[in-house]
């Protein structure tokens, strides 16, 4: 999901009509977008766009292009004239293995208000971040055309090369930019992986930028005064840089800019011919309407399909019986298969005007035996007076270790936790129940609580998920008997013989703790929680409890699930 800000007033102006927020939201749904909030004082809409593969929709201009199709005010692929600029970009063969591709265009006669400059910057940032994979796959640059001379060189240069980066007043060398400039620290790692510095140079030696890190402060920005601009996209994927350039040109055209092409001269190592950008590859896809109708459950006729697809800003180039040849707009590389066209047709029909069928796939439903087994245990433990709780499987290592007297153990851990509170997977439940007790010391005793839930363990280098049941009883009079009798009832109702074998366990008082043994296997623990733990957790009454591994109770149907 991508989130952008746009002016409510400007959106209505671009659509040429007054719309309530609700009406606008209904229309935006056709652009897979929704209004997250409306900040009235700022006339600002926060719009969420649900697609991660449609960067063409990440601007008000893009959404409105889509809406105008639905309203039948415009149709088919939007076209605009592109004139030759005579500008050339020469690409250095050394870039072949690092960041080889570039797409450029020149926009003239632009007069952008501050608002639309900010809009274009917002769009560029969103594309760089998400579609451009944080500038790794692609990044965008805008320049003041009047300061640039052709041919432009896109080449590798030594680290001592200097220029004034954006928001700075003095020249900095490239390696210094990576170390010291804010953007250098943010994106420098991309360049460092290359092992060399890519740079864009004007014919007169002026530095345009160090892609994908930072533009030059003199040339690399546009303002309300800018009338001509060079737009450039560099990246690791030929298709991506061209799609991004197309999206940007399309937006500028909406505001009256004239677009001029740039010739990209690639060396053989990168691309076997020169490319004129923006590139309009006329990509087509054939669909069989019979198959599409069967897929959607509809009866769309070929002529209607042609109209519907035009509403979605595609062109229908030919109809041959039930075979339609559809031309894809150059800014849409999300169309991989005819099912993608099927969706476009369904959206053009309006989902709410397609009649839902009655429920028809007749099958028998049911819970898995393991869920039924867990429910059995839950019911018995509720009958035993337990209050059920749900705690997290992903939890705080402290709760699992120091707070229950256990040394750091072999937990399945998270590499990128947001906070240590959620950073390891529990392999026992009772430590979390003790944590719950520690937060309820002001509540009436006795407190009896239980959880039947999943835990994650490493066994023989395999990660497994299984269900355990844990029951704790806290009360001034709590004694071992209180949980022993409940465990006994649980296992006898489950028709399971067991014995308790005395054992020492750091969480429990010595001599007051035992392993639960079923068929000679250790499958749980029962006992009185050690007073040091109670003190540590500020629980001022005795606590007794047990935890048992459900897959080891033979009469239950709980299974251990291995990830691989």
């Amino acid at each position: 999901m991508v989130s952008i800000k746009a002016s409510y007033k400007e959106m209505q102006e671009m659509l040429g009509k007054q719309l309530s927020i609700e009406q606008l939201e209904d229309l935006l749904s056709f652009a897979k977008s929704e209004i997250d909030q409306y900040i009235e004082e700022e006339d600002m809409l926060v719009i969420d766009i649900k697609t991660s593969n449609r960067p063409d929709l990440w601007s008000p201009e893009g959404m409105i292009r889509e809406i105008k199709g639905i309203l039948e005010e415009e149709s088919g692929i939007p076209e605009y004239e592109v004139k030759e600029s005579g500008y050339v970009v020469k690409v250095d063969p050394q870039l072949a293995s690092t960041r080889p591709y570039i797409a450029c265009a020149i926009a003239k006669n632009i007069s952008l208000t501050d608002y639309y400059i900010k809009q274009i910057m917002q769009l560029s940032e969103k594309i760089d971040y998400s579609y451009g994979r944080r500038r790794k796959r692609s990044s965008i640059g805008f320049y003041n055309l009047s300061m640039i001379k052709s041919p432009i060189e896109y080449k590798v240069i030594e680290e001592t090369h200097e220029f004034i980066p954006l928001e700075q007043t003095e020249k900095m060398s490239l390696d210094r930019i990576l170390e010291e400039h804010e953007k250098g620290r943010e994106f420098g790692h991309i360049v460092k992986e290359y092992g060399h510095y890519p740079i864009l140079l004007s014919a007169d030696g002026t530095t345009l930028s160090l892609p994908p890190v930072i533009n030059s402060n003199d040339v690399g920005k546009i303002t309300e005064e800018t009338t001509g601009s060079l737009i450039e996209v560099t990246g690791t994927n030929f298709e991506t840089v061209n799609v991004v350039l197309n999206i940007l040109c399309q937006v500028l055209v909406t505001h009256g800019a004239e677009i001029y092409s740039v010739k990209i001269e690639y060396p053989q190592d990168i691309y076997n011919e020169s490319v004129i950008t923006p590139l309009f590859d006329k990509e087509e896809i054939e669909i069989n309407l019979d198959i599409v109708n069967k897929y959607l459950g509809t009866k769309i006729k070929p002529k209607d399909a042609a109209k519907l697809i035009a509403k979605r800003r595609f062109n229908c180039n030919s109809i041959d019986g039930n075979i339609l040849t559809i031309e894809i707009p150059p800014y849409r590389k999300d169309i991989l298969h005819w099912v993608d066209i099927a969706e476009e047709l369904a959206i053009a029909l309006d989902y709410n005007k397609i009649d839902p069928t009655k429920w028809k796939v007749l099958t028998t439903g049911g819970l898995l035996p393991e869920t039924e087994s867990e429910n059995l245990v839950r019911n018995i433990l509720v009958g035993a007076g337990g209050t059920e709780v749900l705690t997290n499987i992903l939890t705080d290592p402290e709760i699992l270790t120091t707070r229950v007297n256990i040394d750091n153990q072999d937990y399945v851990k998270i590499e990128n936790p947001v906070t240590s509170t959620y950073s390891v997977m529990r392999k026992m439940i009772y430590p979390l129940l003790i944590n719950v007790l520690s937060k309820n010391t002001h509540e009436t005793y006795p407190q009896m609580l239980f959880e039947v839930g999943e835990i994650v363990k490493l066994i023989d280098k395999k990660v497994i998920t299984q269900s355990n049941a844990a029951f704790l009883c806290a009360d001034a009079d709590a004694s071992f008997e209180d949980v022993h009798k409940r465990l006994n009832q649980l296992l006898s109702l489950l028709n399971t013989d067991y014995e308790i074998r005395q054992v020492n366990h750091p969480s429990f008082t010595e001599g007051r703790c035992g392993q639960i043994i079923i068929e000679n296997k250790e499958c749980g623990i029962i006992g009185e929680i050690h007073p040091s733990i109670l003190e540590n957790n500020q629980i001022w009454v005795p606590v007794v409890g047990f935890e048992i591994e459900l897959p080891l109770i033979p009469s239950l149907k709980c299974k251990v699930k291995s990830t691989y």
């Binding site: 897979k32 796939v361 099958t363 851990k413 947001v418 509170t421 959620y422 937060k439 009896m448």
Partner: protein
């Protein structure tokens, strides 16, 4: 039927009280308390029998009860101050005020009052500082003294002429006392032959049941208005119980349950679902990566090779694919299940056709936990497969979810996006308070997802926003409460159904 004709069963204590009331006309409850030495609660209980049987009636009265103040008590015990002064004066010709005070042993204020009073009554004369009595034989305030002494000893005293003085001199105070007068309606004599005495106990014992003595025994009535002691029996967690209901409803709609591991291979979480390996959803900010261990193992199966092809060139689906080199090592990375769809993906292996499945699973995203975000949350997901199923059927299924699970007839569909379905739909339902809220999403699995598993039939994938539904139904605004540790909530939260 008149009371005279019927037999009346009364506890023996009640009969005794009946007799007392009959013998002491117009006795009050207070009087009865003294006489029977029963406490008020018990007395009321027995009187209840007499009143309900219309043997006596109750009449509320208000009386003024007089009681001595500390001053009054002292005067009753040591004589009124004017009497003490008079007594001294009777023994002497004349005494100065100062000497008199010493002899009477009274404070100045009291002395002044006593002397003043005697002078007013014309019993003494004061010549300069010398005080002398006029008539040595005359008794001073004798009646008042007698009344005080009577009040002190608790005898009945006729104070009517002295009320004002007693109050003025702060010797006594009057209290308003409410009492209940008991009047006999039917004299005991008339009733005695109709009364049966019954014994009465508070507890039914096993012996009483066995020996049949319960028949002659009255079980004392309980106080049904008293509030009961606090009690917290065992119960299920409210949200878990709600999930149980959802499972039940899905089973009733013909869905079979599926489950999967919490720690997942990227293969099942992403690759099998045709999410390109450089897709932004696979980055650190969007999915929890497991560090111990980092790597699992891919299954040894043809479908892994097919999935690779689907990514690289579309496999034999007619798709362009993502056109990059697919990395099996990346695919074997371990992550925390980011969505329940990974369980659906696992179910695609040897999928039964037709079939319908659901899962309710814990899923994980590296979000900062706040009012609307959990880092561990619940997803309800599933699939429906049938060779004849269409997009219209998918809308039909969503409609059934709106009606049967959200219990809401007001719903609408919106275009949506999932990397693994096409077309994709969002289901919104209209909440009377919150407006349109998203309740579910669905789509038809892309052929790049299903074909690698040898599935030719369309597979509908769906998911429901069940947490939101629970919150809306229960007026919860903070999503963290679903996993609340508060005993207060766990013990007292209302059941979501009914």
């Amino acid at each position: 039927m008149s009371n005279l004709e019927k037999k009346i069963s009364l506890p023996s204590e009640a009969v005794k009280i009946y007799q007392i009331i009959d013998e002491n006309s117009n006795i009050s409850i207070r009087g009865l308390e003294k006489q029977t030495k029963l406490d008020r609660g018990k007395l009321e209980y027995y009187l209840g029998f007499l009143v309900t049987n219309e043997l006596i009636s109750r009449l509320e009265i208000v009386s003024h009860q007089i009681s001595l103040t500390n001053n009054g008590k002292e005067a009753a015990e040591n004589q009124l101050v004017e009497r003490r002064i008079a007594k001294i004066l009777k023994e002497k010709v004349s005494v100065s005020f100062a000497d008199l005070s010493k002899l009477v042993k009274a404070e100045n204020k009291e002395m002044n009052a006593g002397v003043g009073l005697l002078k007013k009554q014309g019993l003494i004369k004061i010549d300069k500082d010398q005080i002398s009595i006029i008539d040595k034989k005359k008794e001073v305030n004798k009646k008042l003294q007698i009344i005080l002494e009577q009040l002190l000893s608790g005898e009945t005293a006729d104070t009517s002429d002295f009320n004002e003085i007693l109050l003025q001199r702060n010797l006594a105070s009057f209290e308003e006392v409410k009492d209940i007068l008991l009047e006999i309606l039917i004299p005991y004599k008339q009733m005695s032959s109709s009364i049966q005495k019954m014994s009465e106990v508070s507890r039914l014992t096993p012996e009483m049941i066995r020996d049949g003595s319960w028949r002659d025994t009255r079980l004392r009535e309980y106080n049904l208005k008293a509030s009961p002691p606090t009690f917290y029996g065992g119960r299920k967690q409210p949200y878990a119980e709600f999930l149980d209901e959802v499972k039940q409803k899905l089973c009733a709609l013909g869905f079979k349950e599926m489950r999967g591991p919490v720690v997942e291979l990227e293969f099942w979480n992403f690759d099998a679902l045709f999410q390109a390996q450089n897709h932004s959803a696979r980055e650190w900010s969007d999915v929890y990566q497991v560090s111990n261990p980092k790597q699992g193992k891919l299954p040894k199966a043809d479908y892994v090779e097919n999935v690779k092809k689907a990514h690289e060139n579309g496999y034999d689906t007619g798709s362009k694919g993502w056109r990059y080199k697919w990395d099996p090592l990346k695919s074997a990375h371990l992550v925390l299940r980011a969505h329940g769809t990974s369980i659906s993906a696992r179910t695609l292996v040897d999928l039964e056709v037709p079939s319908k499945y659901f899962s309710i699973s814990r899923c994980y995203r590296p979000d900062t936990v706040d009012v609307t975000h959990l880092s561990e949350f619940t997803q309800v997901e599933g699939i429906v497969v049938d060779p004849s199923i269409t997009f219209r059927d998918l809308l039909g299924i969503l409609k059934a979810f709106a009606v049967d699970i959200a219990e809401n007839e007001n719903f609408k569909f919106k275009p949506d996006y999932y990397p693994f379905t096409e077309p994709s739909v969002e289901l919104d339902v209209l909440d009377p308070n919150l407006g349109w809220i998203e309740f579910g999403g669905a789509g038809i699995f892309r052929p790049e997802v299903t074909k690698p598993f040898g599935i030719e039939a369309p597979v509908i994938a769906w998911g429901l926003g069940i947490e939101r539904l629970f919150m809306v139904k229960n007026g919860i605004t903070d999503i963290r409460e679903l996993f609340s540790h508060k005993f207060d909530w766990l013990r007292t939260a209302k059941m979501s159904r009914g």
